[in-house]
């Protein structure tokens, strides 16, 4: 606990007018994850502040995606995966027995590494989440929400004339923005992004990054990325994972300019990874 306090002092001593002071939305304490007998995450303790972008960086296999998938319990789908420790979102333990993953995932949306639109029309892709959660009461309201979500995902102008065409017919970048529109349509508080740009070209990547920056006002975003530049561009906070351990976390600027741990330094300077 004292370590936490010191760290917070380090954080608050820096210049960060752009980040409002708020209690953390997500807080994890001593989270261990096992795949069968293999330990994938070791005592992860991390606070994630609201309405900001936190990037999770680290070499391949360090556990950052595993950690991300703990936050909306996607790891439940893997039979051999076991999660221990305490993960709280707005103070609620999300692994408590009374928690239902359907409402959790409506609250904590996710965008995946490869764009994965449903093989349905563009409209249906966005409308699906609204339908299953019963979020709209009329057809016109549904259409409005779909339009609004597509606008917020920066895709409306490109697809407004072909909403009936299959979502799978769009380009990779458009597909990923469609997936983002689909996620924000159900109005989650938190959006998890698992390397959302790794399958995209630089122009599409730039569009998504711009979008992430805009979305920060309404959502808490946690993004896993392999690109250090991307982490530096889009995030306010960064956590560095290495071999299943959370090595260092803090303001992005501080992590990239004056890392405290030598492993962090090696990674961001390109010596490991």
């Amino acid at each position: 606990m004292s370590f936490q306090l010191i760290e917070r002092q380090i954080l608050t001593s820096g210049k960060r007018q752009d980040i409002p002071e708020q209690p953390p939305v997500i807080s994890t304490r001593d989270v261990d994850v096992y795949y069968a007998d293999k330990k994938a995450l070791d005592k992860i303790t991390l606070d994630i502040p609201a309405n900001a972008v936190m990037s999770l960086i680290g070499p391949s296999g360090c556990g950052k995606t595993t950690f991300l998938r703990c936050l909306n319990r996607m790891n439940d789908l893997i039979d051999i995966c076991r999660v221990e420790g305490d993960i709280r979102i707005d103070g609620q333990d999300i692994y408590a027995p009374e928690v239902n993953t359907v409402s959790l995932r409506a609250h904590v949306g996710m965008v995946f590494q490869r764009p994965n639109p449903f093989p349905k029309s563009i409209f249906e892709n966005v409308a699906y989440g609204l339908r299953i959660h019963g979020l709209t009461s009329s057809k016109s309201e549904l259409a409005d929400r779909v339009e609004d979500s597509l606008k917020r995902a920066g895709l409306w102008e490109e697809v407004k004339d072909r909403l009936d065409e299959p979502g799978t017919g769009l380009s990779g970048g458009q597909q990923q923005r469609l997936c983002i529109a689909r996620t924000i349509a159900v109005q989650p508080k938190i959006i998890l992004m698992d390397e959302p740009c790794s399958a995209l070209d630089p122009i599409a990547t730039a569009k998504i990054e711009e979008l992430i920056d805009e979305m920060r006002a309404n959502f808490t975003i946690i993004i896993v990325t392999h690109s250090m530049q991307q982490a530096a561009r889009v995030s306010q906070h960064t956590a560095f994972f290495h071999m299943g351990k959370l090595v260092e976390q803090g303001e992005t600027r501080q992590i990239f300019t004056s890392p405290q741990d030598e492993r962090t330094e090696s990674y961001i300077t390109g010596r490991i990874g």
Partner: protein, 419 residues
């Protein structure tokens, strides 16, 4: 320029030779397969095409008012009228034995043809009418050239004198070959010229309907549960092994099971397409489960993640996204299983569907037979004319199969989606 791109080393030569050899072997394998198929289809078609035509004979029948009591038209002796007409046509025939031969020119069906005519138009009584009758199978065979004149006169089904009568009829334009619609619209008969495929066709169609209705829903729900919901443990592994084993069980075993359980324990109607379909469903079920599980496994996990990620429940994920994408594969599996069921005789043997059924079944509860059984029964019959019927029945069976497979392809195209 160097010869970098043209130089052929011994090593490269060997690789090229291997490639050519492999392609050549592949082509010859395909050629052999096609040749066998053509020989089979060609033989069956050339033998079966004769069954599409049937010889008919025209006779002038005097509808004698003394024989036909207008109050009881249905019970009159029309056979006598037909025989009279034959005797009138060939007045030179006097001896009893010869008369019997003469009557054999016309099918035993003739009296019913005449009865139906008179009952529908009683005003014809007292007149002499020209009626076309179905010729007997022996006449038909002679016309189709299937009776060789090199066989000794007394051993032939049609001897020299009968041949003369027939030639006489031909000369008088009283004998002609017509399209044999009876083959498609009637049930089985002991007389080859009267035998039709419809009862077997209806029996097969009803059985397959029952089979599909039972095995498709049960099969896909079992597959969906096993693939998407069941925990992966020792029990599910045990069930999987058993399903795979069931797919390899000889079909006659399912027939025995059907006999013991469906007929003897539950007392369901014997020889009915209902029980036939149930037995075939047992046989088809493992095939459908295995194919459906493979189809579900082929749906990319990203689709499941996408649905679960926006908060769809597991049921919603499966029924809104995964199952529709797997449906074409499931249908293909079902059709493959059904095609096998269509050709199956052994399990039907056990539940009494191997029977002479002359009536066309109207429901799944009436006694029926099936196409492969009908083929077997006709192939086993001594009459020469059943030979072409057998081949024609095989053609009908093959057409049934082609239609089933075509509809499967069309359905698959319709449901197939890109992802």
């Amino acid at each position: 320029m160097t010869d970098l791109f043209t130089k052929v080393t011994p090593e490269l030569k060997r690789r090229l030779r291997h490639e050519r050899l492999f392609q050549w072997m592949g082509r010859s394998a395909i050629f052999i397969a096609i040749a066998f198929l053509l020989v089979m289809v060609g033989t069956i078609a050339s033998m079966g095409v004769g069954a599409l035509r049937q010889t008919h004979i025209e006779l002038s029948v005097f509808l004698d008012p003394q024989e036909l009591d207008t109050a009881r038209l249905y019970d009159a002796d029309y056979g006598r009228l037909v025989k009279k007409a034959l005797r009138a046509r060939f007045t030179e025939v006097k001896k009893r034995q010869d008369k019997r031969k003469l009557y054999n020119l016309i099918s035993s069906q003739a009296e019913f043809t005449l009865r139906d005519l008179v009952v529908s138009r009683p005003s014809l009584i007292g007149q002499t009418v020209k009626v076309w009758f179905t010729a007997s199978d022996d006449v038909d065979m002679l016309i189709k050239g299937n009776i060789s004149s090199s066989t000794g006169n007394t051993q032939r089904r049609i001897d020299r004198r009968e041949t003369r009568w027939i030639n006489d009829l031909i000369a008088a334009d009283q004998l002609e070959s017509r399209f044999n619609s009876r083959f498609f619209w009637s049930g089985d008969s002991r007389e080859p010229e009267l035998a039709g495929i419809l009862s077997a066709f209806a029996g097969s169609a009803f059985s397959l309907l029952v089979c599909f209705g039972l095995s498709f829903p049960v099969g896909i729900f079992a597959a969906i549960y096993l693939e998407e919901f069941a925990p992966k443990n020792r029990w599910s592994a045990f069930i999987e092994v058993n399903i795979n084993n069931l797919a390899a069980v000889p079909s006659i075993v399912f027939g025995l099971l059907g006999l013991a359980v469906f007929l003897n324990t539950f007392g369901l109607p014997r020889s009915s397409p209902l029980v036939g379909g149930m037995v075939l469903a047992l046989m088809t079920l493992p095939t459908i489960i295995i194919a459906s599980r493979a189809a579900l496994r082929a749906v990319p996990p990203s689709i499941r993640e996408a649905a679960l990620g926006i908060g769809a429940s597991r049921i919603q994920t499966v029924f809104h996204h995964v199952a529709p994408l797997a449906l074409p594969g499931m249908l293909t599996g079902a059709i493959v299983g059904m095609a096998r069921a269509l050709g199956e005789t052994a399990p039907l043997l056990m539940i009494g569907m191997v029977a002479f059924v002359a009536d066309v079944p109207n429901s799944i509860f009436e006694p029926a037979t099936a196409l492969p059984v009908q083929i077997f029964l006709w192939a086993d019959s001594p009459e020469r004319a059943f030979l072409e019927k057998t081949s024609a029945a095989i053609i009908v069976l093959l057409c049934f199969l082609v239609v089933m497979n075509l509809s499967a392809i069309i359905l698959r195209r319709k449901f197939e989606k890109r992802y």
